[in-house]
């Protein structure tokens, strides 16, 4: 029985196959998990293949741009400066680039997350005062494994263990919004400044909105049955050794990249269309700095869109290139990731409508403020 190949092998064909030029590089990223796994001889055996894989990854990544140009203009013989050429080049460059970044970062974050189980995060946060607790919760939201399907059990687990309501909300805002997939896409398509701005302002919104909700003392708007639940005292599972952590990184890649790659490709394809065919500055009048109402509109549009940040960012990047303002674009992204209608419906099981409305209202105002701030400053 070989557990390793079983868990790790499927991640690849699924996640990366469609992006032809990156198979080599991405494929090499993986053996770190699988190569070492055969026998549990420890981490030593997978350091060398891991480094080699990383080197190949880097070489391929560095040359993607020229590779894409070569493919577009020499192999496919499209005309320089044509609409189709621009769109195709955008697609064959961005899709392998983003997928390669995703595989690498998700793998790394998967390992980091093996140190932060929800149980451990809860122990850190329980009994914490407001303010310090809000900051900690927002930061832990980045590294604690979270999927929106688990929002309700997590909420109950936190609240019954004595994590203050406001602190819990800081976590619930930060966890879906400031996540590695969004950050990777922002970094890959916009550069580190925008990714950094998103990270920083996302944390501020999470901290501030949790603090406000805490100050409003809305504990009575939690459904009563929540408090009748037994306080869970499950031990903090820890994978113990590095091999297990590396394996968790591989599982994260299979899970996350396996789920989002199609959205990413569709998003990049739509972005490529906009990039090639929509004229420069076309959007300046409706999504530019001058239009103050574009920020609240972006937030409103973002709410019904759910967990498709992966597909939305490439589109948004193309919009930005055509004259949309950065603040508007950031507000849109935050609204898509942090607020979603399905989440509100799920949360209704544990929260009374008034608390849900407050939650959405406070976070939406925070996002709009960030949007306006950037449009004003930049």
């Amino acid at each position: 029985m070989n557990p390793e190949t079983e868990t790790v092998a499927p991640a690849f064909p699924d996640g990366v196959a469609p992006a032809k030029p990156c198979c080599g590089g991405a494929g090499c990223g993986r053996p770190r998990g699988s190569g070492s796994a055969r026998k549990s001889t420890g981490l030593g055996r997978c350091v060398a293949p891991g480094l080699a894989g990383l080197l190949v990854w880097w070489l391929v990544y560095r040359n993607l741009e020229s590779l894409a140009a070569w493919l577009t203009y020499s192999v496919l013989r499209l005309d320089h400066g044509s609409h189709l050429g621009a769109a195709v080049q955008f697609f064959v460059y961005e899709s392998p680039k983003v997928l390669m970044l995703l595989v690498l970062i998700v793998f790394a974050v998967g390992i980091v997350r093996s140190f932060f189980t929800p149980e451990r995060t809860r122990r850190i946060l329980s009994g914490k005062r407001m303010s310090v607790g809000n900051v900690l919760a927002a930061l832990l939201g980045i590294v604690t494994p979270f999927c929106s399907g688990s929002a309700v059990p997590l909420f109950i687990g936190f609240v019954t263990a004595g994590v203050p309501l406001g602190v819990t909300f800081s976590f619930l805002v930060s966890a879906p919004m400031v996540n590695e997939v969004a950050l990777v896409l922002l970094f890959g398509l916009f550069g580190w400044k925008v990714a950094g701005l998103y990270l920083g302002t996302g944390l501020v919104i999470a901290i501030a909105s949790g603090w406000v909700i805490g100050r409003l003392r809305m504990e009575k708007y939690i459904e009563e049955w929540v408090f009748e639940m037994p306080v869970s005292n499950r031990s903090e599972e820890d994978p113990q050794n590095w091999l297990a952590r590396v394996r968790l990184g591989g599982e994260a890649v299979r899970d996350i990249v396996g789920n989002v790659w199609l959205y990413v490709l569709i998003g990049i394809a739509v972005g490529a269309g906009i990039h090639g065919y929509v004229p420069e500055n076309f959007l300046a009048s409706i999504m530019g700095k001058g239009a103050w109402w574009s920020v609240p509109l972006a937030v409103l549009l973002g709410v019904p869109m759910y967990s498709n940040a992966a597909g939305i960012i490439p589109i948004v990047q193309a919009l930005l290139g055509k004259g949309a303002a950065l603040g508007t674009v950031l507000a849109f992204m935050m609204s898509v990731t942090a607020l979603s209608l399905p989440e509100a419906i799920i949360l209704r099981k544990v929260l009374k409508p008034r608390l849900i409305a407050t939650f959405f209202g406070v976070v939406a105002i925070g996002i709009m403020f960030v949007g306006w701030l950037f449009n004003f400053l930049m």
């Binding site: 029985m1 399907g149 309700v152 997590l154 109950i156 687990g157 639940m229 499950r234 599982e251």
Partner: protein
């Protein structure tokens, strides 16, 4: 006879876990009864914070993930 319970509010991963558990249990030849627990209060009564979760004879064995086939076999064959 083991009682196996899958905790989860009906997400895709819960179904994946149920299938994986069925497969592993069949391979081990474990006589069992598989039950999907979808009611939120019932799920919470096990004290889990992430779903899907696997419960074997009343004790929580895995949470928030679909364990690999090999891992599932270990989880299922272990005695309480």
């Amino acid at each position: 006879m083991k009682t196996l319970q899958i905790l989860g509010t009906g997400c895709a991963r819960c179904d994946a876990l149920a299938e994986a558990v069925k497969k592993a249990a069949a391979e081990l030849g474990i006589e069992h009864q598989l039950q999907k627990v979808t009611d939120l209060r019932q799920i919470m009564s096990f004290g889990v914070m992430t779903t899907p979760a696997l419960v074997v004879d009343g004790s929580v064995r895995a949470t928030g993930k679909v364990p690999s086939h090999a891992e599932l076999k270990t989880l299922l064959s272990a005695t309480n």
